[in-house]
């Protein structure tokens, strides 16, 4: 009943109020507009974070300090990490959710459209504060994106307040976005779409949203404690006042581990959509995929201290967190095997979304392997805080999350713009990215094993060769991403007209509406049987 009321209300309301120019974007409550805003914002942030990474790689091109000072180097790594996590990957997923969730469940819009507008429009302010701190006297945050106390509190360079304020805003934005996703999925599904009939994409966002609601407040709590420790004389993390710096890490990683699943579960949802399409075969083991996603989400709450094996935990703690972390390999393995089985005896074609999806499965799995290695406490003592870890999380976040976002973007671009993207350019984008990303991140495994710590601006001579090749890979990868920008702009401006369903094997409600998707879709809900 509520559904009907909302539906009518929305369609009538918005038809009269579609504004033009900048006002359209500022005041919009339309899920497609907001999705577009999120996607552009995340891409701009991605290029910004990438530019910082380019400076880092220039400095590391050869031994010696050539370009930046060590303190500025720390600012670069910190802000690079924060921008990529909170500014690029997370908003890109929220953008995809905004665009696709309502269309996939046959809803007219997100359930809470004004909240939606607000959760996007506070984001630019958060990042203006964060990036603006580069131009202030204190400089930008320089304590790593993990902001361990007391480096971020007692010993901070004075940027802590900006940092905390920016993170608070990002957190509020994420929580509001997540609440919107949960409410939409629970209330606005088309009649007949039971939970176990939802596309897997919807399931992964549903579970991710719960994770966000659970852990973003924890992040808010810990940054607030950092704030009061720095400026108001509390001693949460200050041993001299009875606090404990290791407690900071426990609270941070209680947020931080689920956070990494927040950045990968939606990726699972995307490739579980694209792989069946281009293999022309139903997703293998739909229900086991749902259960695997849910168990990964639950397990993610009891493994946080695997980031902290060297902090001096008792043996029992180390064993507990090691075993729990190893367990995560089981549901993750199930997912990979299911994708493998979906491809098996399919009728495959290799359009760009499929190329990115296959690259995702293989390279994410490599990241998963190194994750399993890191789970083993005794060897983690050797890997921890080295380039091995840097390699690991870039495999899961770049060739994992980012590649899945590209897969999704290419997959739905025809639906968004009404045009097919330029196939040749998109293939260039894929192959250049694939080759350069491996040149960039694969050698990092070896650097880590050979003993190079992370977060250092200069290094011993033995590491020189590998760093040089990594930097070259980095520059090439950075440039390759500009191809994507060209593809998208060309695709918006024109190109071959896209039919309602451009992919032969595609399934789902989003393909039942014309391309480009009209401003309002499913004003009357479709019937699912």
């Amino acid at each position: 009943m509520t559904t009907e009321v909302l539906t009518e209300d929305l369609s009538e309301h918005n038809q009269h109020h579609k504004m033009t120019g900048i006002k359209r974007w500022l005041y919009t409550t339309n899920h497609k507009d907001i999705g577009t805003l999120y996607l552009w914002f995340s891409f701009i942030m991605f290029l910004t974070g990438g530019a910082l990474a380019m400076i880092i790689r220039m400095e590391l091109f050869q031994p010696g300090l050539q370009i930046v000072e060590p303190d500025f180097f720390n600012q670069l790594t910190t802000v690079h990490g924060l921008i990529m996590v909170f500014g690029a990957i997370m908003p890109a997923f929220t953008g995809l959710a905004n665009w696709m969730l309502p269309m996939m469940i046959g809803a007219p819009d997100m359930a809470l459209p004004r909240l939606n507008n607000w959760s996007f429009w506070i984001l630019p302010f958060a990042f203006a504060i964060l990036i603006g701190s580069f131009f202030m006297e204190s400089g930008a945050p320089n304590f790593g994106w993990t902001f361990y106390a007391p480096l971020s509190t007692t010993y901070s360079n004075g940027s802590t307040a900006f940092f905390v304020f920016a993170v608070h805003i990002m957190g509020i934005s994420s929580i509001m976005g997540a609440i919107n996703i949960v409410v939409t999925i629970m209330n606005l599904r088309a009649p007949g779409m039971t939970y176990m009939k939802m596309p897997l994409f919807v399931w992964t966002f549903f579970i991710t949203a719960y994770l966000l609601i659970a852990v973003m407040p924890v992040l808010a709590g810990v940054v607030t404690m950092v704030l009061t420790d720095t400026y108001f004389g509390t001693s949460f993390f200050n041993a001299a006042g009875g606090g404990d710096p290791v407690m900071f890490q426990h609270i941070f990683w209680f947020f931080g581990h689920p956070e990494v699943y927040i950045m990968i579960l939606p990726a699972f949802g995307i490739v579980s959509t694209t792989i069946p399409t281009f293999a022309r075969k139903k997703l293998f083991g739909y229900s086991s995929m749902v259960y695997a996603t849910a168990s990964i989400a639950l397990l993610s709450f009891i493994v946080w201290a695997h980031h902290m094996f060297t902090t001096g935990m008792p043996l029992f703690g180390e064993l507990f967190f090691m075993y729990c972390t190893m367990l995560i390999a089981v549901p993750t393995g199930v997912k990979v095997f299911n994708w493998m089985a979906t491809m098996w005896r399919g009728s495959m074609t290799f359009e760009t979304p499929m190329l990115f999806s296959i690259a995702f499965v293989i390279l994410f799995t490599i990241g998963g392997f190194s994750g399993l290695m890191l789970a083993l406490t005794p060897v983690d003592f050797q890997y921890h805080d080295t380039y091995f870890v840097v390699a690991h999380f870039h495999y899961v976040l770049v060739t994992g999350s980012l590649f899945s976002i590209y897969a999704g973007a290419y997959y739905w671009l025809p639906k968004w713009t009404g045009h097919m993207y330029n196939d040749v350019l998109s293939k260039w984008h894929f192959w250049c990215s694939l080759i350069s990303v491996n040149l960039l991140f694969f050698p990092m495994h070896f650097l880590g094993l050979a003993g190079m710590p992370r977060r250092i601006p200069d290094y011993a001579l033995q590491f020189a060769d590998f760093n040089k090749w990594i930097s070259i890979g980095g520059f090439a990868f950075g440039l390759s991403q500009l191809i994507f920008l060209v593809v998208v702009i060309k695709c918006i401006k024109g190109g071959e007209k896209a039919p309602a369903k451009p992919w032969e094997g595609a399934e789902g409600l989003e393909w039942t509406v014309p391309s480009p998707a009209p401003y309002h879709t499913f004003s009357t809900p479709p019937k699912i049987d």
């Binding site: 200069d458 011993a460 060769d465």
Partner: protein, 379 residues
């Protein structure tokens, strides 16, 4: 033509670095039983992952090659099998248990800190290590010894770099071979992490808390490592060098150190009655300053505000002498400014304070004698 030359040049410069390369491509086996167990575990997981990878990726590539539409492949209709799902849940669990067993036993061994022969307290601070031998009365700081001009290449003044560039210190930690050496780790300021790969020891040094680790090295030799936890500006410049000596050499070293300590105590006493000329103070002061203070306050005295204040025209360095001395001697609690009373001799403190009061146009004309330092801190 020109462009091509440039291309060759840069290619040449790429290749020329290869001369430096002899980086091991795998984890070190190290020099202890524990490090070898850790290495074995690493290889075990690596092989298992490679095996699984070959199978899974093999199947995927097989379908990519043979089950493609362009080859006329028709898609099958299967999309579920409880049997297979159970199978590929169960097999990984078995493999995981096979890994967990050796991991658990190695971990139990690593965490057994009992029955140590030698105990050493390791204290990290921005950006040096302090070693203190229990029951021996020996303690000293260990700092990077690579000269600044080798790593500060901003003006492209690339001095030839030492063989152990950034992995060398003035005074290494010395421990005996074949003895169980226990380390107690802590920190004076932020979190550091003491890591020597050859021992498979990486342990955080947390301010206000003490962590334990141990090693038992079988071969004398020199082993190098680095601080592994981001600890501020010069995190990349606080290496660790451990010199492992045979039992006899180690005993001799201990005696030598104790004699040195006795000698410097004598010298300290003698310095109280000495009076140094301004030139001498300034010269020594500059040396001390560049070695101990310039990382934060910069060779120019301008500091890196707001984190590290300028000393040029600073109210302290141009104001009350006693306050200046006390600041340097005791440091300021809860800031990067550590107390140098333990690290420098009275003479060195006198010299560096004199230097700071007269360098960079501070021109106070004051000269400070060791006895002045002693008097100021005694109050």
């Amino acid at each position: 033509m020109k462009r091509r030359n440039l291309g060759w040049l840069s290619l040449g410069s790429l290749l020329s670095y290869s001369a430096w390369a002899d980086m091991p491509l795998n984890l070190t086996q190290g020099a202890t039983e524990v490090s070898r167990n850790v290495y074995d575990l690493h290889m075990l997981v690596l092989y298992i992952c490679t095996g699984i990878g070959i199978i899974v990726f093999g199947i995927m590539f097989w379908s990519m090659i043979f089950h493609r539409k362009s080859k006329g492949a028709k898609s099958a209709s299967f999309h579920e099998s409880t049997k297979i799902e159970i199978l590929w849940t169960a097999i990984p669990i078995v493999i995981l248990i096979a890994m967990a067993v050796p991991a658990t036993s190695t971990l139990i061994e690593m965490e057994d800190n009992s029955n140590a022969d030698v105990t050493i307290q390791i204290t990290g601070s921005q950006w040096k290590w302090h070693y203190k031998y229990f029951d021996q009365g020996i303690e000293y700081y260990s700092v990077l010894s690579t000269p600044r001009e080798q790593y500060e290449n901003h003006q492209s003044n690339s001095a030839i770099k030492n063989e152990h560039y950034l992995l060398e210190v003035d005074k290494p930690l010395v421990i005996p071979a074949n003895k169980k050496v226990r380390f107690l780790m802590t920190s004076d300021d932020v979190i550091h992490s003491w890591w020597v790969p050859a021992f498979a020891v990486k342990q955080d040094a947390n301010p206000g808390f003490i962590n334990e680790a141990w090693t038992k090295v079988d071969q004398p030799g020199i082993y190098r490592g680095q601080c592994a936890e981001l600890c501020g500006k010069d995190h990349g410049f606080m290496p660790i060098v451990v010199e492992v000596k045979s039992e006899a050499d180690y005993q001799n070293w201990l005696i030598e150190q104790q004699q040195l300590i006795a000698q410097s105590a004598e010298a300290e006493k003698a310095s109280l009655n000495s009076s140094l000329a301004m030139d001498e103070l300034m010269q020594l002061g500059e040396q001390v300053y560049l070695a101990n203070c310039a990382a934060c306050h910069q060779p120019t005295g301008l500091g890196l505000p707001p984190a590290f204040p300028a000393l040029k025209n600073s109210p302290v360095a141009t104001g009350d002498i006693n306050e200046h001395i006390i600041t340097v001697f005791n440091g300021r609690v809860g800031t990067g400014m550590q107390g140098y009373g333990k690290q420098l001799t009275l003479k060195e403190i006198a010299a560096v304070v004199t230097y700071e009061r007269n360098a960079w146009g501070n021109n106070t004309g004051d000269s400070v004698q060791p006895a002045d330092v002693n008097a100021a801190v005694a109050k």
